[in-house]
Amino acid sequence: MTAVQRRWLFLAGMAILAGFYLWGLTELPGFGNYPGPYGFVINRIAVAQTNATGVVSAVNFEYRGFDTVGEEFILFIAAIGVATVLRQLRNERTHESAGHEGLGAGSAETTDAVRLATLVFVGPAVLVGWFLGSHAQTSPSGGFQGGVVLATAFVLIYLAGEFLVFRRFSPIDLVDSVGAVGAGGFAAVGITAVALGLPYLTNFLGLGTVPGAVSSSGTIALISFFVGIEVAAAFVLIVGELLEQTLLVQRGGR
């Protein structure tokens, strides 16, 4: 099929599909008129039932916690998939780099000023990541956002030109294991409930007395923690694999 034929074929099909889709959408209650009941029921009962004032986190980690288990494993297995696919290249690098003295100390063109300015942000990134990861139940945050921000701290270290430091902090095997501990830890928290004779993922830690406090929502903080390290590890692994590819080229590999 030529590009022109394909385009017209698609446009014809898409025109019908768009009309069809709109036909369904116009019969919704209309924007701003969400009819419930799911969300309204949850809004009504979540604070009393889970002690979490951030209801989205309560949904993510409690009511629909099982979805989140699946979601974390999607990210986990995607990182493993990236490592699988790029694995072959990495082996080649180890052969090649024997010739020309491996990876030097980061990209040479980074100036000291840039390096310093970037490193200054590492501390705040770690802090923000930690804060986000640990306040799932109160504020609009949680392990996922915290994990990504934590991973950014590692990327900042790289941007500062400290690739060796980046690699020392994130050797592939270790990051792999940390990610696995994160994803597995979440699943294991759920299993603990089963071992106690409760349904899977039941919040088996006691709720505190103050709604919204970090320690008052039982397993939410624990799960959020595991999600945080899993996400951070997955992103560091993915970024690390891609970085190796890039550097492999820079250093005169193929």
Binding site: P140, S141, F144, Q145, V148, T152, V155
Partner: protein, 102 residues
């Protein structure tokens, strides 16, 4: 909107950024939606991949703004970290690998 007026802490500052009357909120949402639609078009029509990564980053920001206007600060934060930062970063890394050999 009474709750929004009472809000003072840092949390409420994020959660209820618009203590605006519904009519104004409507306008705001329409404007953002138009921008998002335009942004999506721009991302698709930018055929040069490096520029497209920038466009994608901008589109991520627009989406984040839209989530804020739809009272979803949680999603906003995710979209900021993923859509506006992490994905463009991955794209840049990929392109760096790909372009070096050309």
């Amino acid at each position: 909107m009474t709750g929004a007026l009472a809000a003072a802490s840092h949390v409420a500052a994020i959660t209820t950024p618009f203590s605006v009357p519904p009519a104004l909120m409507d306008t705001l949402q329409v404007v953002i939606l138009v921008l998002v639609a335009a942004g999506a078009t721009m991302v698709v029509l930018t055929r040069q991949p490096a520029r497209q990564a920038i466009a994608l980053s901008a589109y991520g920001l627009l989406l984040a703004l839209m989530f804020l206007a739809f009272q979803a600060p949680d999603v906003t934060l995710s979209e900021l970290t993923v859509g506006a930062v992490a994905l463009p970063l991955l794209l840049m890394l990929t392109l760096a690998k790909v372009r070096k050999r050309e």
